[in-house]
């Protein structure tokens, strides 16, 4: 996210304050930066590049970057920086570039074989075969909603400081067909699309999504909340999640490594965005969406961002040590989504956690690490210290205590509990994950739990 933001701030200084400004980026982001400045109308934005990494280098090593060559231009770094500030500009530099990009409704007719190749070569697929979105198939899909095909559903982009793309109900239906969805899944897919939270987030951290569906629609469309719910054993679970991914990459302007996707390793969860239904019937607690203000008879989808998970079995005599060890070993900023088989939920219930909130509060109070270790973490160091410096609590307090003092690993709103599974094994996981930080949503107030019913 940082390289696009640096580009944005530089362009602001140039255009709104009249200050000639050079952006310095890590070399791995060159292609991304080229794209960002182009789609912001300033393809000749002043920029220079240094080798990677920057974060772990000593002052002497960083001095070496300053004294060395720009790995993108091949020329001395500082010479390039100073030249960018002083070289004479031409009319194109001073004018910028304006252009329009059209998206046709229909593609040129072609054979199915050629179309499959076109979709794959244009990076419109997940590199698995898709269902070609013919007019007849899309029309059939649109029967799944009462909303007009040309209604704007929302906006999406791979990361901040990239342009927001609009998309319609029909565009969502096109991608739903491609994913192999049935028309009755469309309200769920539209709800996910309307969140504006992309399932193809560009972050270098390789985040993916988890989607949890609640309410009556689970049974209406045959979703799985029992045996194998997180695996490839149900069409609705599979196709809804796949559609979320495909529509994200296609309506937002792409998800191409080096250009609109920067995940260092990628994430296998992205194939179907870990989509499943909560097992409300077997859970001893209220459903996730009820916990977050919806009625039990309302249908919702919640979008989480996840990185990975730690799996275990059973709630045994040393469950407290187990929870502290698993959650304490995760990264603080990313949160925890506890995904519990109903057997495990019942075990926690029998220990006295008769509400999800009690388990969440216990975790907040008891899973603690030294403050110095908490702040040493890459993401908290780079994303939370600003809040601490601005006096925002509890980060301000966490930033002022001695490094050896134990502080909570997670705040309560960054701990989530979901029940799913078929009770053949008391398994559970802590997924390193959270709802999207409000600072990174299209609007800070955009909800993470979205009504499906409004898209019927």
């Amino acid at each position: 996210m940082c390289a696009p933001e640096v580009s944005g701030h530089v362009m602001t200084l140039e255009t709104e304050y009249g200050v000639p400004t050079v952006a310095v980026h890590g070399a791995a982001f060159a292609r991304l930066v080229d794209s960002v400045v182009q789609v912001n109308g300033m393809p000749r934005a002043r920029r220079a590049y240094v080798p990677m990494p920057v974060l772990t280098k000593t002052p002497a090593e960083l001095r070496g970057y300053v004294e060395g060559d720009d790995p993108v231009s091949g020329r001395p770094f500082m010479a390039g920086v100073l030249e960018a500030l002083t070289r004479p500009l031409d009319a194109d530099d001073l004018r910028g570039v304006e252009f329009d990009r059209d998206t046709p409704r229909l593609l040129e007719p072609d054979t199915e074989e050629n179309l499959h190749r076109l979709f794959r070569d244009n990076a419109w697929t997940d590199y698995l075969p898709i269902v070609l979105p013919t007019e007849a198939r899309v029309a059939a899909m649109l029967a799944g909603t009462s909303h007009a095909p040309d209604e704007i559903v929302g906006q999406m982009r791979p990361t901040g400081f990239r342009e927001l793309w609009d998309f319609t109900v029909e565009k969502v239906a096109v991608n739903a067909v491609m994913a192999g969805a049935e028309p009755e899944y469309l309200p769920v897919i539209l709800a996910l699309a309307s969140s504006g939270m992309t399932a193809r987030q560009s972050s270098t951290s390789s985040m993916a999504n988890m989607v949890v569906v609640n309410g009556p629609i689970r049974d209406e469309i045959g979703m799985n909340s029992g045996l194998g719910a997180l695996g490839p054993y149900n069409q609705a679970n599979a196709a809804i999640g796949r559609a979320f991914g495909l529509l994200s990459q296609n309506v937002q302007g792409g998800s191409v490594p080096g250009l609109t996707y920067m995940g260092a390793q990628g994430n296998n969860f992205a194939y179907n965005s870990l989509t499943f239904a909560e097992n409300e019937e077997k859970s001893p607690w209220e459903p996730y969406h009820v916990q977050h203000g919806f009625g039990a008879d309302e249908s919702t989808a919640t979008v989480f961002y996840v990185w990975g998970n730690v799996w275990t079995e059973g709630v045994r005599s040393r469950w407290e040590d187990k929870l502290k060890a698993i959650l304490g070993g995760q990264d603080p900023f990313d949160g925890s989504i506890l995904v519990l088989d109903p057997l495990v939920a019942r075990s926690f219930y029998d220990l006295g956690f008769d509400r999800k909130e009690k388990l969440i509060d216990w975790i907040h109070e008891n899973v603690r690490i030294p403050a110095g270790f908490w702040w040493e973490n890459f993401t908290t160091r780079n994303l939370m210290h600003e809040l601490a410096e601005q006096g925002v609590e509890p980060w301000s307090t966490y930033g002022s205590v001695p490094p050896e003092q134990l502080i909570p690993m997670f705040e309560p709103d960054n701990i989530h509990v979901v029940v799913v599974g078929g009770s053949s094994n008391g398994q559970w996981s802590s997924f390193q994950g959270r709802t999207l930080d409000a600072r990174f949503r299209n609007a800070p107030t955009d909800p993470a739990t979205i009504s499906i019913d409004r898209w019927r």
Partner: protein, 95 residues
Amino acid sequence: MAKVTVLDPRGYAPKITARGLAPQLDGLDGKTVYLVDVGWENCDVFMHQMQGWLGEHEPRVRTEVVRWRDQHEPDPQLCERIRHDGDAAILGVGL
């Protein structure tokens, strides 16, 4: 082989508005350049290394290392200060 017609899966891109560069500096002598640390880890160290290099190689350039308040938000106060008191800026590091 028979041909089929399919729909384009892509969304609608916004129109791109042209944005031009600010005029270049007429040389470096006597100029003030702000070195802006955007707040990512070690970027302050990098900016100080740039400052050191400029002090040795371009001693007639005045530099000041400053910090962008929150990399995710505009910083109009800093931008105004740079416009009022400076001639150019270098921001980094985008990672």
